[in-house]
């Protein structure tokens, strides 16, 4: 996967290039927003890692310009600022995700895998974790190659968890993803669906964080 890294801090950029290179990513690095827009236009990367604080154009402006032309472009924002306003501004301008500096390298890799899965699901259609494989086009799920039968909401729930493998998904977040606004949600709807999924996938695949939500580990069952 080809990544465009837009970061003006040289030591951080060199470190990231090395770290991501070790993971098998191809990383191109530019230090200005101008150069970033140029590269995005003429040599479209698969994913952009974009720092908000750039010397020439503000990172958010770069994001707006880039996504105005290419709505599907996956962008992971890096920001040294925080506070709710900055985050909202970044996401509203079309960023897929953001990380506040200083971040854990493992966290960055996890976010990249989520973006990668999203890209690959539009190309090669499946997400595989452990012995479970989910085909996002055919909307089917296999366990050890065996097809299993899932209700629509069970499938959506599993897809949401597998796409974000390695990260805890809160029950509230899952509820909003499963039910459109105004639909009646019973207080234990998510639990009921998880219970049914476990019957079909085994108890260990989906982990419960009591009172908080659920999580599928990156290397499930291993």
């Amino acid at each position: 996967m080809q990544i465009l890294l837009v970061e003006d801090d040289q030591p951080l950029a060199r470190g990231l290039q090395q770290a991501l290179g070790q993971q098998g990513y191809v990383v191109n690095h530019v230090g200005t927003g101008e150069a970033a827009l140029h590269v995005i236009e003429f040599d479209r990367p698969d994913v952009v890692i974009l720092d908000i604080g750039l010397p020439d154009i503000d990172g958010i402006t770069v994001l707006e310009k880039a996504t105005a032309k290419d709505k599907e472009l996956p962008v992971l924002m890096l920001t040294a600022r925080d506070g709710v306003d900055d985050k909202v501004a970044g996401l509203d301008s079309g960023a897929d995700d953001y990380l506040v500096k200083p971040f854990e390298m493992t966290e960055l890799l996890a976010r990249l895998r989520v973006l990668e899965r999203r890209i690959s699901s539009t190309k090669s259609n499946d997400i595989t974790i452990g012995n479970v494989c989910l085909d996002t086009v055919a909307q089917t799920v296999t366990v050890d190659g065996q097809d299993i039968d899932l209700a629509r909401r069970e499938y959506m729930l599993l897809k949401s968890l597998m796409e974000n493998a390695g990260r805890v998904q809160t029950r509230s977040a899952l509820e909003t993803r499963l039910y459109t606004w105004g639909e009646e949600v019973s207080s234990n709807a998510v639990e009921v669906h998880i219970h049914r999924l476990r019957k079909k996938l085994g108890n260990e695949f989906i982990r419960t964080i009591r009172g908080v939500g659920y999580k599928i580990n990156q290397e499930a069952n291993s």
């Binding site: 801090d9 030591p11 951080l12 770290a19 604080g53 040294a80 809160t170 977040a173 009591r210 908080v212």
Partner: protein, 436 residues
């Protein structure tokens, strides 16, 4: 505090009265002089008249007014006298004016020697009457002024009040200005003297707001400046981890050092950002349970790395607060609990409502906090003795200071007690519930 208006009115009135008094005194003096001259001339005329009297008649029965008297002497013998006059000479037999006392009064006298008849004529007039006249003249002139002083005072009061109106308007505007409003003073049509003051105030306001703006920018800049190199350090450490023995003490020290630096910078910035103005701006209806849910989801990897169990219990509870500040608080509480609890320990977060309070409890199965230390743990840069088996992640001693700071902003109380486990501590934060 004295009022400018009262000072001006009293001052002007006192000055006016003083000058009137001096003028009256001066008038009295000149009236007295005038009266003296007038009466002396009359006395002179009277003496001439008396000199022509027929002295053979008995004049003692002559009814002169009470204030006049005369005697006519010839060679030591009293030839004639008025009703009041004594039997002895009123004054020494010497030409000219003089003073004398008789009949219980002070008299002005005039003695005249008639050379033709060789007689002495002495005339006298009571002096007190002269004073009465002069006093009357003066009184007549100052009485109107005296009576009009209240009216003058009222007029001065009105004029001074009118003159002070721009100042009053300015002070009202300044008083009603919001604490955060550093904009210029808007009072218009002011007097020239006030323009200077307003310009100075506006200049000061502008400099102050620039200063505050610079300070805010500095904090944002500092965040960027410090966070980016720390990110670089962390990434380099990650890369280095693949190349060398990560079990060595040097490596551990290095990793802890970077970790500690990151932590300190974050906490310092957080503490700085939690100022009451910002809080009032961002405060809104917040579900404390959702805040906990989010924080735990974000922090779960830290807890998981220490193989600890973490659960959230309770119900959705609404409070009035700033979600960002509350997230920082919960994050610090959980981070702290995880740090001081050995691996494979248990953490429990509970949110529930008790009457009009919403209670957030964070409990752990760590070693607990001794009673003696419970008051001091909220002090800045206080470090508890690291217990056996506690995490290696070093703190900077600001985490609980931030917790108590956020609690204070939310009018919440913090209590430290024993956890529901066999050992361990419980941090209990009690917020005022939002009225539904």
């Amino acid at each position: 505090m004295s009022s400018i208006r009262v000072f001006l009115v009293a001052g002007i009135l006192a000055t006016l009265t003083l000058f009137n008094f001096v003028a009256a005194l001066r008038g009295y003096q000149s009236s007295m002089d005038e009266a003296e001259l007038l009466f002396d001339n009359q006395l002179l005329d009277f003496a001439r008249l008396v000199a022509r009297l027929d002295v053979d008649d008995n004049h003692s029965e002559l009814r002169l007014s009470n204030n006049l008297a005369f005697q006519v002497w010839e060679q030591g013998k009293l030839l004639a006298m008025s009703y009041h006059a004594p039997e002895t000479p009123i004054t020494g037999l010497q030409n000219g004016f003089d003073y004398s006392n008789f009949d219980g009064y002070r008299w002005r006298t005039y003695t005249r020697h008639e050379t033709a008849s060789d007689r002495w004529v002495i005339v006298a007039e009571r002096t007190d009457l002269r004073f009465v006249l002069a006093e009357n003249v003066v009184l007549e002139s100052i009485l109107p002024i005296l009576l009009s002083i209240p009216l003058i005072g009222l007029l001065i009061w009105l004029i001074v009040s009118h003159g002070l109106k721009p100042l009053t308007a300015l002070s009202t505007e300044l008083r009603n200005k919001h604490v955060n409003d550093l904009g210029p003073v808007r009072t218009q049509n002011s007097r020239r003297e006030l323009q200077q003051v307003i310009q100075s105030i506006n200049g000061f306001m502008a400099r102050l707001s620039q200063g505050l703006e610079r300070e805010k920018r500095f904090s944002a800049d500092a965040a960027h400046e410090l966070r980016t190199p720390i990110s670089a350090l962390k990434v380099q450490l990650h890369n280095l981890a693949g190349e060398i023995d990560t079990k060595s003490d040097t490596w551990q020290e290095l990793e802890n050092g970077v970790e500690r630096m990151q932590h300190l910078v974050e906490q310092l910035l957080t503490l700085y950002r939690m100022n009451p103005d910002k809080f009032a701006e961002n405060s809104q209806e917040t579900d404390l349970y959702l805040v906990c849910e989010n924080v735990i989801a974000q922090q779960y990897s830290l807890v998981e790395a220490r193989k600890q169990q973490l659960a959230l219990e309770g119900e959705h509870c609404l409070i009035n607060g700033d979600a960002f500040a509350l997230e920082t608080m919960v994050s610090n509480l959980i981070g702290n609990a995880s740090k001081y609890t050995p691996e494979e320990g248990t953490l429990l977060v509970t949110v529930h409502q008790e009457g009009d309070r919403v209670i957030l409890d964070v409990e752990d199965s760590g070693p607990g906090i001794p009673e003696a230390e419970r008051d001091r743990i909220f002090d800045r840069f206080y470090h508890s003795e690291k217990p056996q088996g506690a995490g290696e992640a070093p703190g900077c001693g600001l985490g609980l200071t931030i917790v108590s700071h956020v609690a204070e902003l939310h009018h919440a109380h913090v209590e430290v007690g024993d956890s529901c486990f066999a050992t361990g501590s419980k941090f209990s934060i009690s917020f005022p519930a939002l009225e539904s």
